[in-house]
Amino acid sequence: MSRDKSNMRVPEDYFNKRKNDFLHFANGDEDMLDMSKDAPVLASLGKRDGFLLPEDYFVNLDLRKDKRIVKQIRPQNWIIYAAAACVLCLFGYFGLTQIDSTTAPSEFLVELESKEDIEKAYEFLIRELDGFTNEELMYEDVFADFLLEEENITDTNLETIINELSDEFQIEDFEDIF
């Protein structure tokens, strides 16, 4: 036992032990409250939250995840529309979609002059998204990865970028996909 000047006594090693208790309390995982006393109404509700889920939500989420993510990643900026247009053009070239394109891809790219044309092509891709397999969509990533590196896309440098795109990829690069 130890004592101070006022003759009051504390148990041996009291302060060291208490310090450890306080530190343990501050750093340990215990809460600072007793729910039944400090929050009886909340405690009476238990852990219920009232949330319900659509039937098979996670099963369906699993099935659609790739397409949802690809769909959302694409429209970062409107150069992505150009990527989609290239994809559609190539799909058209191989006769895989209903796009009426008798134009060779390289010519098609040169003809992409207006934002509206590109947007229209992109809208088609999004509308028909479910008709594409994941492999086909991953094929689109080839363009997307290339394009996502391009940060400063403006209307004025779009033409240059489209030209670069057509130089970057050859039809032969995609033949094994089909």
């Binding site: 409250l33 400090d38 109404v41 909340l42 996670f58 989420l61 994941n134």
Partner: protein, 183 residues
């Protein structure tokens, strides 16, 4: 220690099998992340959107994940940040929701909510908490996330998170006492 499932995900991704690795990641984490997000944003359709945004962010950044934190910690951090951003952007877009009237209306209309009066009041009580405090409250109260893990997800010290949870519980309790009719 890195979980074996996480190891496999990271191995697949670093070996270039991005699609396979990402598929496994989504399968393993979609439910946990969904519930964390749902408890923050409450409405199912909003949780669905935020979950999607979370996975998009993960997909875009997984190659930058350096393994300094656990994969699960990193994923939960993204989910929490996405939820907070969503709530803040919603707050910016709408005029002031005095008394949570708009929130209550939306919740009442949500067909994926059990319309028990006490649970509706509980959600309204949680809705009064600031975003970060809401995250602390839901993680601790519903999922019993250890404070140490919470500190890694949220940042801050164990002590400050404990204090935040303490205040959150007090506020929720106070709201319930004045709004739940059977008390």
């Amino acid at each position: 220690m890195i979980d074996n499932g996480d190891k496999e995900i990271l191995r697949l991704i670093s070996a270039g099998s991005m699609e396979a690795g990402f598929n496994t990641l989504v399968q393993d984490y979609q439910e946990k992340l969904y519930w964390q997000i749902r408890r923050m944003v409450v409405i199912h359709a909003d949780a669905d959107d935020v979950l999607q945004n979370t996975f998009i962010k993960v997909y875009k950044n997984i190659l930058k994940f350096e393994g300094q934190a656990q994969l699960s910690t990193w994923l939960h951090r993204i989910a929490i940040n996405e939820s907070i951003s969503f709530l803040k952007s919603k707050k910016r877009k709408r005029t002031e929701d005095i008394g949570g009237i708009q929130f209550e209306k939306k919740l009442v209309e949500d067909k994926y909510f059990d319309h028990d009066e006490a649970l509706l009041t509980l959600q309204k009580a949680i809705y009064t908490l600031p975003e970060k405090q809401r995250a602390v409250f839901t993680m601790r109260y519903y999922d019993e996330v250890p404070y140490k893990e919470m500190a890694e997800i949220m940042g801050g010290s164990v002590g400050s998170l404990k204090a935040s949870y303490h205040h959150a519980v007090k506020k929720v309790e106070e709201y319930l006492k004045t709004h739940v009719s059977y008390v």
